[in-house]
Amino acid sequence: MTGVSYLAIAPEILLLVGAVSVLMVDVFAQPKPRVHGWLAGATFLAVAVAIGAQWHRIGIDGVGTSFGGTLFLHNLSVTARSILLVIAVLGVATAWDMLVGLGRRMAEGLSLVMVSTAGFMLMGASADLIMVFVALEIGSISLYVLAGIVRNSPTGDEAAMKYFLLGAFASAIFVYGAALTYAGTGLTNLVEAGAAMSSYHVARPAVLLIGMSLLVVGIAFKVTAAPFHAWAPDVYQGAPAGVVGFMAAAAKVGGFAALINILIIGFDRYRGAWADGLALIAAISVVLGTLLAIQQSDARRLLAYSGVAHAGFILTGLTAGLVGTASVLFYLATYSVMLVGAFAAVAVVSGPASSGSSLDEYRGLGRRSPLVAGVLAILMIAMSGMPLTTGFIGKFQVFTSAWDGGFRWLVIVGLLSSVAAFFFYLRLVVLMYFRPPDQSQGHPSTSLRMRLVLLLSAAVTVVFGVFPAPLLGWLDQAGG
C-alpha cells in the first residue's frame, strides 16, 4: 500500500529512459535514424518484458497499489499498458517515415511518442485524481506537439493550436472536477474517496456529482466523445498522417482506462448517475459521429467521426459498470489496432507527413494496391461491426453489457446508428473496389515495415474476430 514498487512503474520509467537516451544520443552522436530505431525497439522490448513481469506479479500477489496508494497495479492498468505498447510499436512503425522526414528533430518526435505512451500508461494506472491529471497532461502535451511537429504543413499548426487550446480547456475542466471532488470529500485518492463516499450518508452530494461530471467531461474530450469531439476531425486531418493513428488510439486507451478507474473505483456510489450520464454522451456520440461521418469526403475526417461513434459504443459498454469493463477493454484493444492500421493505410495512400486524405485518392485502390486496399477494406468492415471481425465481437459485447445494464434504448440507438454507419464504411470499400482508378493515380509504394503494420492489424482483427476466446479470456481477468 505504501511501499514504492518500481515494478509498478517500470514500463513508464523504461520509456522515459528510452526517450531521454534517444535525445541524448541524438545530441551527442547525431546518429543515423536506424540507431534511433534500435533504441526505440530496445525500449519497447524492455517495456514488454516489464509488462510481462507485471502480469506475473499480479498472478502471484494479486492486485494492489503502491506509491502511497496513488498507483494501481491491477489487471486493468496492465492491460491498458499492453494495449498501449502495441499501439506504440505499431504507431512508431507507421510514423517512421514521417519521423525520419523530420531530420534533426527526429529524436524529439520519437521521444515524444515514447513519453506520450508513458503518460497514457500512467493515466490508466493512476489511483489519484491529481496523478491522473498529471499523466493526462504528459500524454496530451506530447500529442499537441506531435500534431504540429511537421513544419510548413498547411494545416499542422492549425491542428496543433486547436488541439492545444481545447485540450487546455478540457484539462481545466477535468482538474476542476478533481477540485470539487476534493472539496466534497477532502480526498483525491480514488480508493479512499470511493470508500469515503460509500461509508457515510451524504445528504447533498451535488458537489460530488458536479465534480464527477466534470471529470467525465474532461476524459470524454480526450476520447473524442460527442459533443466534446469537435477537435478530433480537424486534428486528425491536419496532423501528419503517420502519427494520427497513434494519437487517436493512445488517448482513447489511456482515457478509458482512467475513466474506468475513476468511475468504478472512485464513484461507484453514484453509479446510477454516471451511467445515465455516460448513456447520454454515448447516444450523442454514436448518433452525431455517424451522421457527420456520412458527410465526409476526407478519409481522415471520416475516421475521426467514426472514432466519435466508436467512443460512443465504448461508453455504451461502460454504462453497465464493472461487468462492462471486459467488453470495453476488448473493444478498446481491438479498435485501437484497427485505428492504427487504418491510419497506416491512410499514410500509405496520401503520404506519411501529409495532411488530409481526400476520398478520391482511394478510387480503384483495390486495383492499384491490393494489399493496402484489402487491409483497409477488412478494417472498415471490422469497424462497421460485421461478424468474423473483432469489430463485431466488440460491439456485440458492449451492446450485451448495456442491454444487461438496462440501457436498452441506447442499444437500439447504437444498432440503428451502426446500420447508418455501414454507409460510410462501405463508401470507402466501394471506392476502392467498385470504382475504377483514375488515369493519373499511381500505385502507392509500401515499405516492408508498412506492409507488416497493415498485415498485422488486419490479422489481429480477423484472427481475434474469428477466435476471440483467448483475448476475451485474458481481458476478462482485467475487469477487476
Binding site: M161, P205, A206, S213, P227, A230, A273, Q295
Partner: protein, 633 residues
C-alpha cells in the same frame, strides 16, 4: 389388366418425351408413327380393360377399381391413384379413340410443317394429360390433368407462334382458364377443409354424412367456376373462339371433343356433391342454358368456318351443362360422347376445307365445294344433320334425351327446356348456313385457289367418324338404355334424373325437337341457298343490328377489355409507378435521405473555428453536468 392401367397414360406420355428429344431427327412422317401407335395402344388397352364392365353386370363394387401407383402428396390424401370405373372408361375411350383418329388426320394436315414432330409431341402430351384428368382418383390429380391439358391447349393454340394472334390466343386461353382454376382451387380448399382429404374414395362416398347443403352448394358453385373456365361457358367462354388460331386438328381434339368437356366430366364425377345441393345444380343448368342460347346466336353471325364451330361447341357444351346440372348425368355424358364424335368430324371436315382452300377460313370466300371434295362433303352433311338433331343420327338421340330429362324435371326447368329447344332451332340454322355457304352455291374463291379433296390420310378419319356419327347414337336410345346401364356403377348412390317414362310424351318431345331442327335447316336453306344474293342482303339488313352484334360476339371481348383488362393494367401501372416507385421506395430512400440531411444540418457544428468548438464543449459540459446532477439527486 386394370392393375397396369398406368400404361394407358405412360404410352402417350412416353412417346411425347421420345418425340420431344428425337422427333425432329426421325423426320416428318415417321415421327407421327409412334405417336399414333401410342394413342391406339392406349385405346386398345382401355377397350380391353373396359370389357370387364360388361362382364360384371351389376356388381358395382367390382366395377370400380382404384389403382394405387405411388404416394404423391400424402398430406392432402392425394396419391398417384387411378380410378377405373365406367365413367372414366368412357372418357378414356372417347379421348383415345377420337384422339387416335385426329392423330392420323393430323399427319396429313400438318404435312410440311417444320415443327411436325413437335406437334405430335404436344398431341401425345395432351392425350396423356387428359387421361390423367379422367383417370384421377382424387381432386389433386384431377387438377394435374386439368392444368396439363390447359398447358397443351396453350402450346397447341400458339403452335404457330410467329403469328401474334396465335400467341396471344394461347395466352388468353391459359389465363382465362386460370380464372376458372382459381374457383376450382377454392373449391378444393373447401373440400379439403371439410373432408380432410382430396381423395374421391372418401369425399364422394356418402358426402352427405360429413357436409351439409350449404357447404355442398359452396363446393358445387366453386367447382362450377372451374368448369365454366375449362368448358368455355359464360362468362369465361371468350378464350375458345380465339383458340381457333391453333391448327384444326387441335381444335377438333382439344377444343371440341375432349378437353372442353372436362367441366362436364367433373360435374358428373362430383355428382355426389351436387346431389346435396339443388341450388348448385340449378345454377349449373342455368349457366348451361344461357350459354347454349347465347353462343348459338353468336354462331349465326360468324363468317369464319372454325369460329362457327367454336361457338357451336360452346353452345353444345351448354347443353351438357344443362343436363348434368339437373343430375341428368347419363344424358350429359351421352351428349358428350356423341358431340365428341360429330364435332370432331365437323372440325376435321372444316380443316379439310381449309386445307383445300389454302388456309382460307372465311366462308364468304368459299362456296360450291360439294363437287370438289365429295368425301368431305358427305361426312360434313352427316355431321351437320347430326348436330341439327335429325334422327337417327347420334346428335338426335343425345340432344333429345337432354331435352326430355329437362322436361321431365318440370317446374323451372321447363323454361330451360324451351331455351334448349330454341337453341336447337338456332343450331340447325347456323349449321345449315355453314353448310350452304361452304358447299353449295357459286364459288367465291380467291384467285389462284384450287380446291381439291384432301389426301386419304385425312379423309380416312372423316369417314370413320362419319360412320360413328351414324352409329354411336344407338348405344342409348329410349328403347335400349345401354349407356345408362353401363354407367350405373359409377353413379352408385348418386341421384340420377331420367327422361319421362311416358312413351307418348317422349315421342312428342322428340317430334318437337326434330321439328325445331328441320325448321332451322329450312330457314337456312331458304336464306342461303334459294334466296338470291340481294334478297338475302336486304333481309339481313333488316336485322342488321342483332346480326352485327352476333357477328362481333356481342362485343364481349371489348367489354372485358374495357371492364377488366384495361383497368387492371392501369391499376398495375399505377401500383408499379405511384405506389411502388413513388411511395414505398421513396419512403425507403427518404429515410436514407433524411439521415443524410440530418448530417448535412449538423455540419455547421464543425465550423472550423476553435472558439465555436469551445462553445460546443461548454454547452456539452453544462448539459452533462445538469443531466448527471438531475439523475443523481
Amino acid at each position: 389388366m386394370v392393375d397396369y392401367l398406368w400404361i394407358v397414360i405412360a404410352l402417350p406420355l412416353g412417346m411425347a418425351v421420345f418425340n420431344h428429344f428425337f422427333g425432329s431427327r426421325i423426320g416428318e412422317p415417321r415421327a407421327a408413327g409412334p405417336a399414333i401407335l401410342a394413342v391406339l395402344g392406349a385405346f386398345g388397352y382401355a377397350a380391353v380393360a373396359s370389357l370387364d364392365f360388361f362382364a360384371s353386370e351389376h356388381a358395382s363394387e367390382e366395377a370400380v377399381t382404384v389403382v394405387h401407383l405411388f404416394d404423391w402428396i400424402p398430406g392432402l390424401g392425394a396419391g398417384a391413384e387411378l380410378l377405373w370405373d365406367p365413367l372414366s372408361a368412357t372418357m378414356t375411350l372417347v379421348v383415345t379413340g377420337v384422339g387416335a383418329l385426329i392423330h392420323i388426320y393430323a399427319v396429313g394436315y400438318m404435312h410440311g410443317d417444320p415443327r411436325f414432330s413437335r406437334f405430335f409431341t404436344y398431341l401425345n402430351l395432351f392425350i396423356a394429360s387428359m387421361l390423367i384428368l379422367v383417370l384421377a382418383n382424387n381432386f389433386a390429380l384431377l387438377f394435374v390433368g386439368w392444368e396439363l391439358v390447359g398447358l397443351c391447349s396453350y402450346l397447341l393454340i400458339s403452335f404457330w407462334y410467329t403469328k401474334p394472334s396465335a400467341a396471344s390466343a394461347g395466352k388468353k386461353a391459359f389465363v382465362v382458364n386460370r380464372i376458372g382454376d382459381f374457383g376450382f382451387m377454392v373449391a378444393l380448399m373447401v373440400v379439403f377443409t371439410s373432408f380432410g382429404t382430396l381423395s374421391y374414395t372418401q369425399v364422394l362416398h356418402e358426402p352427405g354424412e360429413i357436409i351439409g347443403a350449404s357447404t355442398a352448394t359452396a363446393i358445387g358453385l366453386l367447382l362450377l367456376v372451374g368448369a365454366v373456365g375449362k368448358s368455355a361457358q359464360i362468362p369465361l367462354y371468350v378464350w375458345l373462339p380465339d383458340a381457333m388460331e391453333g391448327p384444326t386438328p387441335v381444335s377438333a381434339l382439344i377444343h371440341a371433343a375432349t378437353m372442353v368437356t372436362a367441366g362436364v366430366y367433373m360435374v358428373a364425377r362430383t355428382g355426389a356433391i351436387y346431389g346435396l345441393s339443388d341450388i348448385a345444380g340449378g345454377v349449373v343448368a342455368t349457366v348451361g342454358a344461357v350459354t347454349a342460347l347465347f353462343a348459338a346466336t353468336i354462331a349465326i353471325g360468324q363468317r369464319d368456318i372454325k369460329r362457327v364451330l367454336a361457338y357451336s361447341t360452346i353452345s353444345q357444351l351448354g347443353y351438357m351443362f344443362m343436363a348434368v346440372g339437373i343430375a341428368g348425368y347419363v344424358a350429359g355424358l351421352f351428349h358428350l360422347v356423341t358431340h365428341a364424335v360429330f364435332k370432331a368430324l365437323l372440325f376435321l371436315g372444316a380443316g379439310s376445307v381449309i386445307h383445300a382452300m389454302d388456309g382460307e377460313q372465311d366462308m364468304n370466300k368459299m362456296g360450291g365445294l360439294r363437287a370438289k371434295m365429295p368425301i368431305t362433303h358427305l361426312t360434313m352433311v352427316v355431321a351437320t344433320l347430326s348436330i341439327a338433331g335429325i334422327p337417327p343420327l347420334a346428335g338426335f338421340w343425345s340432344k333429345d334425351e337432354i331435352l326430355a330429362v329437362l322436361f321431365a324435371k318440370g317446374g323451372y326447368f321447363i323454361a330451360l327446356w324451351a331455351v334448349g329447344l330454341v337453341t336447337a332451332l338456332l343450331t340447325a340454322f347456323y349449321m345449315a348456313r355453314q353448310y350452304f355457304l361452304v358447299f353449295s352455291g357459286a364459288p367465291r374463291w380467291k384467285d389462284g385457289v384450287q380446291p381439291h379433296e384432301s389426301p386419304r390420310i385425312m379423309t380416312g378419319p372423316l369417314v370413320v367418324l362419319g360412320v360413328l356419327t351414324v352409329l354411336v347414337g344407338f348405344v342409348n336410345t329410349p328403347f335400349r338404355l345401354g349407356f345408362e346401364h353401363f354407367l350405373a356403377p359409377a353413379f352408385e348412390g348418386v341421384y340420377l334424373a331420367h327422361a319421362p317414362d311416358d312413351g307418348f310424351l317422349l315421342v312428342a318431345l322428340a317430334v318437337v325437337s326434330v321439328a325445331a331442327g328441320v325448321v332451322g335447316i329450312a330457314i337456312a336453306y331458304l336464306l342461303y341457298n334459294r334466296a338470291p344474293e340481294e334478297t338475302r342482303r336486304r333481309l339481313l339488313g333488316r336485322v342488321s343490328r342483332p346480326f352485327t352484334a352476333w357477328e362481333h360476339g356481342y362485343r364481349v371481348d371489348e367489354l372485358y377489355g374495357r371492364l377488366i383488362v384495361r383497368p387492371g393494367l392501369r391499376m398495375a401501372v399505377w401500383n408499379a409507378e405511384a405506389v411502388d416507385n413513388r411511395t414505398i421506395d421513396r419512403l425507403v430512400v427518404g429515410i436514407g435521405r433524411a439521415v443524410w440531411w440530418m448530417g448535412r444540418r449538423l455540419r455547421p457544428l464543425q465550423s472550423g473555428f476553435v472558439r465555436s468548438y469551445g462553445a460546443l464543449l461548454a454547452v456539452g459540459t453544462v448539459i452533462v453536468v445538469a443531466w448527471i446532477v438531475v439523475r443523481g439527486l
